[in-house]
């Protein structure tokens, strides 16, 4: 039996092992954050964080996630108590239709956990895999920068674990 921990809670997986993570998160757990955009790993709307790395959940079968920790947008905070990056997106009003935003936030979250001092160029390069159609890009970049600054201010570098590797 496959067990996946999502946002801190362990779940036994009762679906076919080839089922993409996206469908299990939405269907079995009722989570909304990860979105179906293309099913081909081309747009990033389905991005979640697995063990600290941003992952396109539409092309990752649940069989690959046995024993792993998955964080979705819901794991970062709530509308009443948003996490620092979510707060930054609200403060910058960085959404129009908003459909791509969960993926943007999760990819940025993985980046900032690994590189709290990420440069603007690094943020752009990291978000390259994720598409926005409304043209909210400038605000998304500002929000990630703002979120990075807030996260750094809240937690001095020494207090955070260092992650190696920079998977794109």
């Amino acid at each position: 039996m496959t067990t996946i921990t999502v946002n801190g809670s362990a779940h036994e997986v009762a679906v076919d092992p080839t089922t993409p993570l996206l469908y299990w998160l939405r269907d079995a757990l009722g989570l909304n954050g990860a979105k179906y955009g293309c099913g081909l790993g081309q747009c990033g709307a389905c991005t979640v964080v697995v063990e600290g790395e941003a992952v396109m959940s539409c092309v990752v079968p649940v069989v690959a996630l046995d024993g792993k920790h998955v964080t979705t947008l819901e794991g970062l905070g709530t509308a009443d108590a948003p996490g620092p990056l979510q707060r930054a997106f609200i403060d910058e009003q960085a959404a129009q239709c908003g459909f791509c935003i969960p993926g943007m936030i999760m990819r940025a979250e993985a980046l900032l956990a690994r590189r709290p001092d990420a440069s603007d160029a690094e943020i752009r390069a990291t978000l390259q895999t994720n598409l926005c159609r409304c043209g909210t890009h400038m605000r998304i970049l500002k929000a990630v920068r703002r979120g990075a600054d807030a996260m750094r201010a809240a937690s001095p570098p020494a207090a955070r674990p260092v992650r190696l590797g920079d998977a794109r």
Binding site: V15, G37, L40, A79, Q128, R139
Partner: protein, 750 residues
């Protein structure tokens, strides 16, 4: 209530509270007047009332006051991510002097809100904003009047504060104390006492949008997120090409698969429903493999640019401007240029989705359509239901930017729901289905001709635009893809042009410039090789690209500064202001030139009756690879009275970046047999590495002036400004969209 999202119909009814008795959406006799006109909506009724009050004049169709004094705003427009819901709340709160927290809003729903047609054409503030502001002012007057009557004091002596009417002696009535079932159930008056703009407290403020917290935290805000009890997941199987017929289907294995609830087939319409979403996807794939389709003749035009193929088709010509007469030829320099725009896709990030539920007699459809009433009409006709048995509730989806697959998905879901009474059906299109079957923004060709006199003024102007219709939206069932596939199919509606002054293909075909002699002809092409419909800005995108590129050509050919040249031909003072503002903010004259970069400028007033927008850009040209990069954009916009400046900036920034993506990259791919651009590998759009260094939006606020629609005003000017910057950098003029690097290299090689 943050989201206008109601899954349970009983909640809807409860939400209207005690004051719903006797509520009727329209006074008797007004129903016929509500037929949507033009692109935006129903704001063209007989009465001399602001905005959509013309067609829906009852005050309580727009504003309701609950017993606790809180206010609910009702709009027939839809929140598409453009921030309309927040702006409308600001207007009502302002006129009622209520804290924002005490005002909620319900958006487009055929059971509860006014019919405002489509949420399109940058109409929402003009139609719904004007109506809601006036209705709120009306409510304020009615409440004050009621208090005055009860206290037997003159209304002028009373004031309104914090949701209460106050008398000079300190007595107070909360709004809820004053309201009754009938008080607000009256027609609006033509000239309610509006608050003077100088006293605005929340209008003009950057109020945070109400939908954003849920969007950034995973709240159930999209139609994709609905999960009513008992819901099944459905997928359609589209034909392999337009015109292909389903010849045989061996669906026994799919039907026998555990979790598959139904295979629904009607003619060439094929869908499958399953208990889980992944089950539905897998069943769709297997059903697709089990279906045999005919191969229709491959007959799509292969001429490129695609706009040239449109020009080759029969056209119905309408002269939409005929001013002066062509001057005699002596001493004039004559110019002529053709411009083309390809088919382009809305390209919503989330493929379209709908939830439909046949519960007893009534079919409820949660849809991200831009027009719940027209969508209802189409679905009802397709199913043979009276419209009263169909309810369409707008629920947000991925951004649409016009007529994308939303209505199709609603129609698809309705057909499956009819086959599964009692079970809510969530139907979502796959990426390839959205991309290949959505109605595209039409390919167009324009031809601009002009003559300059010895003084460098435009002595003569002639312009023609060849285009399909830009509006194949629902209303009739034939607008729904599924309805065309049924065993008893509905024919697509006859394509019609949208008349001036808004125009469709000819939107913004008439320049705003003061031209003594000018002729403009709309060559309307009824035959549609590819499925087309409304895409953000309609024909204005290509027409402004063409006209503003051509203005640049004329300025360059006569060695005039392109901005000064425009100002020489602009009389409208607001237009002049916007042009000057963009020029100054961009430091057009003083800024040092960067090697390898060109500067470009363009201006238009959207539809010649909505927002004014001028855009200045700097574009980098890599002469070796032909790559263009928009490095900097500075826009100035006059949208009349600004309600939410941050929301407006967000819209304009988005318009600039989206238009940049259209302009540099985008073209629907198709061969003779069908569409070949079916995903993001085949239909590339802007990614982060090409995002400009800076985008500035400067607003020219016009307190007290009417709202001018802004959502689409940046599309055309951005395109022309980019092309003009390329000409500035290289001397090469690109007249065919998109400005791909192959075209740049070809132009530079000449």
């Amino acid at each position: 209530m943050t989201a206008p999202l109601v899954i349970d119909r009983r909640t809807v009814l409860r939400g209207t509270g005690a004051l719903v008795l006797g509520f009727a959406l329209r006074p008797v006799g007004a129903a016929e007047a509500a037929e949507p006109a033009g692109e935006g909506g129903g704001a063209t009724g007989p009465r001399d009332l602001p905005g959509s009050l013309k067609t829906t004049p009852l005050v309580d169709s727009w504003i309701r006051v609950a017993a606790d004094g809180n206010v609910e705003v009702l709009t027939g427009k839809a929140e598409l991510g453009q921030g309309i819901a927040t702006a409308l709340v600001q207007l009502a709160a302002e006129e009622l002097d209520l804290p924002l927290a005490r005002v909620t809003i319900r958006t487009a729903d055929t059971a509860t809100t006014a019919d405002e047609g489509y949420t399109a054409g940058s109409h929402s503030m003009q139609d719904s904003g004007s109506a809601i502001r006036a209705a709120a002012a009306e409510v304020r007057g009615l409440l004050v009047g009621e208090a005055a009557t009860r206290w037997a004091v003159p209304a002028e002596a009373l004031r309104v504060e914090g949701g209460a009417v106050l008398a000079p002696d300190g007595r107070r009535f909360g709004f809820g104390d004053l309201v009754s079932a009938t008080l607000l159930h009256v027609e609006a008056t033509p000239h309610p006492a509006l608050k003077p703009p100088g006293r605005y407290a929340v209008v003009g403020q950057a109020v945070p949008r109400r939908d954003i917290p849920a969007k950034v935290t995973g709240g159930a805000i999209y139609v994709q997120d609905l999960r009513p009890a008992g819901m099944v997941h459905a997928r359609v199987i589209r034909p392999p090409a337009p015109g292909a017929r389903l010849q045989s289907l061996d669906d026994a294995a799919v039907r026998a698969t555990p979790g598959v609830v139904a295979v629904v087939r009607d003619g060439d319409f094929l869908a499958v429903a399953a208990e889980t979403e992944w089950g539905a996807v897998e069943a769709m794939r297997r059903l697709a493999a089990a279906a045999r389709w005919s191969t229709p003749a491959a007959s799509l035009p292969t001429d490129r640019p695609a706009g040239r193929a449109i020009r080759a088709l029969p056209a119905r010509d309408t002269v939409i401007l005929d001013r002066g007469a062509p001057p005699a030829g002596d001493g004039l320099r004559r110019f002529a240029s053709d411009f083309t725009r390809p088919y382009q896709a809305h390209g919503s990030i989330g493929p379209s989705c709908a939830v439909a539920h046949l519960d007893g007699d009534t079919l409820t459809v949660w849809t991200h359509t831009q027009g719940v009433f027209p969508d209802r009409a189409a679905i009802a006709e397709m199913l043979g239901f009276p419209p009263a048995r169909v309810r369409c509730i707008h629920t947000q989806g991925s951004g649409c930017y016009g007529h994308n697959g939303a209505d199709d998905a609603a129609g698809d879901a309705a057909l499956v729901a009819r086959a599964l009474p009692g079970r809510p059906v969530r139907l979502q299109l796959m990426r390839e289905q959205e991309a290949a079957w959505e109605p595209f923004g039409p390919a167009m060709l324009t031809r601009a001709e002009a003559a300059l006199d010895a003084d460098g003024r435009i002595a003569d102007w002639s312009y023609g635009v060849w285009s399909n219709t830009h509006n194949m939206r629902p209303g009739g069932a034939g607008a729904l893809l599924a309805a065309r596939l049924l065993a008893k199919p509905f024919a697509p509606p006859e394509p019609k042009p949208i008349p001036q002054p808004e125009g469709g293909g000819d939107r913004n075909a008439i320049p705003l410039y003061a031209l003594p002699n000018a002729r403009v002809t709309h060559h309307f092409v009824p035959d549609m090789p590819l499925r087309v419909s409304a895409m953000r800005a309609l024909g204005a995108y290509a027409n402004v690209f063409s006209i503003e590129s051509f203005m640049d050509e004329l300025a360059r050919a006569s060695a005039q500064d392109p901005i000064a040249f425009r100002l020489r031909h602009l009389d409208d003072p607001r237009a002049r202001d916007v042009v000057a503002r963009a020029r100054d903010e961009a430091a057009w004259t003083g800024r040092p030139r960067v090697p390898g970069r060109g500067r470009g400028f363009a201006f238009a007033r959207y539809k010649n009756l909505a927002a004014y927008c001028a855009v200045a850009v700097e574009v980098e040209v890599d002469r070796d690879t032909g790559r263009l990069r928009l490095a900097r954009a500075v826009a100035a916009v006059d949208g009349g009275q600004v309600v939410n400046p941050d929301g407006l900036r967000n819209q304009i920034e988005g318009a600039i970046l989206q238009s940049m993506s259209w302009t540099l990259y985008e073209e629907v791919g198709f061969d003779a047999a069908g569409v070949t651009s079916v995903d993001w590998a085949t239909y590339p759009i802007l990614r982060f590495d090409a995002v400009p260094d800076t985008v500035e939006v400067h607003l020219v606020d016009r307190p007290g002036q009417p709202f001018l629609g802004c959502g689409e005003c940046g599309q055309g000017p951005t395109a022309a400004a980019i092309a003009n910057a390329v000409a500035d950098a290289t001397g090469a003029r690109l007249r065919d969209l998109p400005l791909t690097r192959e075209r740049v290299l070809a132009a530079l090689a000449v």
